[in-house]
């Protein structure tokens, strides 16, 4: 039984939203964050993101396929999960999930198709038998790779990015809304919640892509583009500052107002969440990466490539921990305090082997990478030199990972 300090109602001592509900915004965050990176290239003309544009789109797609799984695992009746799509109840915030998820999935699938269409056609032309039939079906039977057709692809990708970016923001902002809209819980109920979720999604997405980009480049013996790493570090630093500022603002507001909520949130943060909030989220997860990325951004020109890469990798790893801690502190932290505002229950500790346990959470985190590997086998993420990759801005960007570092 959990230990109670202060006064708690009997129905306050259970943590119903478990580790799976921590994983849900964590994984959805990667979806939105990765899409922001791909949009920076396709929509905002940031050519330095060209080497990771396809990777980020593929990552967004793969994480999206897994995003609903934590919810299914959390449900006692997973088969009823489909009802949120079939008969949504709009008095519940969860009703938004079906609509936003389906719409965003459609946009991402379309964008993937337009980006990889040239290679799908080439593979169909080169292959025989079943493989040919598979790629021909993927190409929808049209083999037009003329410059005019590719130009249409490029414009379609731009339009889809323009629709996809707000959709990704809506999808993840809505995850924050689910918590922000719960007025009975002072640790959740703030209009800042969707914005904090969204900014931290950008942090986790960019951090993950920095890691995946550098690891895959090392494994594939490709040159890591210095411009790309610097640009990603800059944007990561920017989103980190925004995120941590908002996270601190929320707490400073509560502390300054000093209303009855603060008298339970303050002990929550300094006792139950002492490790996960103060140590992990704020010091190890925010302060140290802030310093590392400060060095990368401000002293960029003086840094040796290896130092820059190592610093960004370290900062990214710590930021992945920061964002996970933030999700944990919001989801679990909000359930450790009593609705009477007078008591706290002891910390929630998930088990290793259970339906909503640690092992399942690890599998959920690894699964998108497995899907990403399969994706890469079917539709190579690294554009082959001389491929019909759409040139989004008229000027030819360097082929991915083949030109030497600047």
């Amino acid at each position: 039984m959990p230990e109670i300090t202060g006064y708690a109602f009997p129905n306050d001592i259970h943590v119903h939203w478990s580790l799976m509900i921590v994983m849900y915004p964590y994984i959805t965050g990667f979806v939105a964050g990765s899409f922001i990176v791909t949009a920076l290239y396709h929509l905002f003309g940031k050519n330095e993101f060209q080497p990771v544009a396809r990777l980020s789109l593929a990552a967004s797609f793969c994480f999206l396929l897994v995003a609903g799984l934590p919810l299914q695992l959390h449900l006692g009746h997973p088969e009823r999960g489909l009802f949120v799509m079939i008969t949504p109840n709009f008095t519940s915030a969860m009703a938004g999930f079906g609509i936003l998820y389906s719409f965003y999935l459609m946009i991402v699938m379309l964008e993937v198709w337009f980006v990889w269409r040239g290679e799908i056609i080439q593979t169909a032309r080169r292959s025989r038998g079943l493989k040919r039939a598979f790629y021909a079906a993927l190409a929808l039977g049209t083999y037009d790779t003329s410059p005019q057709a590719l130009e249409i692809d490029h414009r379609a990708v731009k339009v889809l990015s323009a629709i996809g970016l707000p959709s990704a923001c809506m999808l993840h902002g809505y995850v924050g809304f689910i918590f922000g809209g719960i007025k009975a819980n002072p640790w959740w109920s703030t209009p800042l919640m969707p914005v904090i979720f969204l900014c931290s999604a950008a942090v986790s997405g960019i951090a993950l892509l920095i890691l995946v980009y550098q690891v895959t480049a090392k494994l594939g013996r490709r040159v890591i583009q210095a411009d790309t790493v610097s640009a990603m570090a800059r944007w990561l630093w920017f989103f980190l500052i925004i995120t941590v500022t908002l996270e601190l603002l929320e707490i400073i507001m509560l502390a300054y107002e000093n209303s009855e909520e603060w008298h339970i949130i303050s002990p929550l943060l300094t006792t139950r969440l002492q490790f996960s909030f103060i140590s992990m989220q704020m010091i190890i997860g925010s302060l140290i990466p802030f310093i590392l990325l400060f060095i990368v951004t401000v002293m960029n020109r003086y840094l040796h490539e290896k130092v820059r890469n190592t610093l960004t990798v370290m900062a990214s790893l710590l930021l992945l921990l920061q964002v996970f801690s933030m999700r944990w502190n919001v989801v679990i932290g909000g359930q450790l305090l009593s609705k009477s505002f007078r008591g706290l229950r002891s910390a929630y500790e998930p088990h290793l082997f259970e339906r909503e346990g640690i092992l399942v959470a690890i599998v959920l985190f690894v699964l998108p990478f497995v899907i990403l590997y399969v994706f890469d086998r079917l539709l190579p993420i690294e554009a082959p030199p001389g491929a019909h990759a759409p040139d989004p801005h008229g000027d030819a960007p360097p082929a991915a990972g083949v030109s030497p570092a600047a």
């Binding site: 079939i86 008969t87 109840n89 008095t91 459609m106 379309l110 198709w113 269409r117 190409a139 929808l140 039977g141 049209t142 037009d144 003329s146 005019q148 057709a149 249409i152 379609a156």
Partner: protein
């Protein structure tokens, strides 16, 4: 337009998917869904049919046990229905015939359901701390040593 053929194809596929979703949904949404709210109304009569009422109310007991009912009506338990302590009528009588003897719980635990001292109960409501209520503890018949359950006032 000649080079945009693939765009029309993908839009056609998209349209097809949307039609399949809409048509598929119409099969999956139960017919009575949404009649009175965001739920399947047919579930209400189904649940009612699956769970026939077991309770008959105090009057149905009085049909056979009028003496007991008269005692109960004059006592301080007048507003406590027979089935509160004895259990539902359906276990005892079915279609007017006695199907089983009514089980009678004479343990102090049953009385304690209402009369055990709990801070949340109104102060004027008769409630006792069993351990302190009777010197030397409760007798062999428990509460019934002193109280008649149908008219418990001494």
């Amino acid at each position: 337009m000649e080079h945009a053929r693939h765009v029309f194809r993908v839009l056609l596929v998209l349209l097809l998917v949307i039609v399949v979703v809409i048509v598929g949904r119409s099969f999956l949404v139960p017919k009575s869904f949404g009649m009175y709210g965001n739920y399947r109304y047919d579930n209400v009569p189904e649940q009612m049919a699956a769970r026939p009422p077991l309770h008959g109310g105090a009057r149905s007991c009085a049909d056979c046990h009028d003496e007991r009912s008269a005692v109960l009506a004059k006592g301080s338990h007048a507003r406590v229905s027979c089935e509160v302590c004895h259990g539902p009528l359906g276990r005892h009588v079915k279609d007017g015939d006695v199907v089983a003897k009514m089980a009678i719980d004479r343990s102090p635990r049953l009385c304690g359901n209402c009369h055990r001292k709990i801070d949340g109960r109104p102060p004027k409501f008769p409630q006792v701390v069993f351990e302190k209520h009777v010197e030397g503890g409760l007798g062999p018949k428990g509460c019934l040593d002193c109280h008649d359950a149908h008219s418990p006032k001494l």
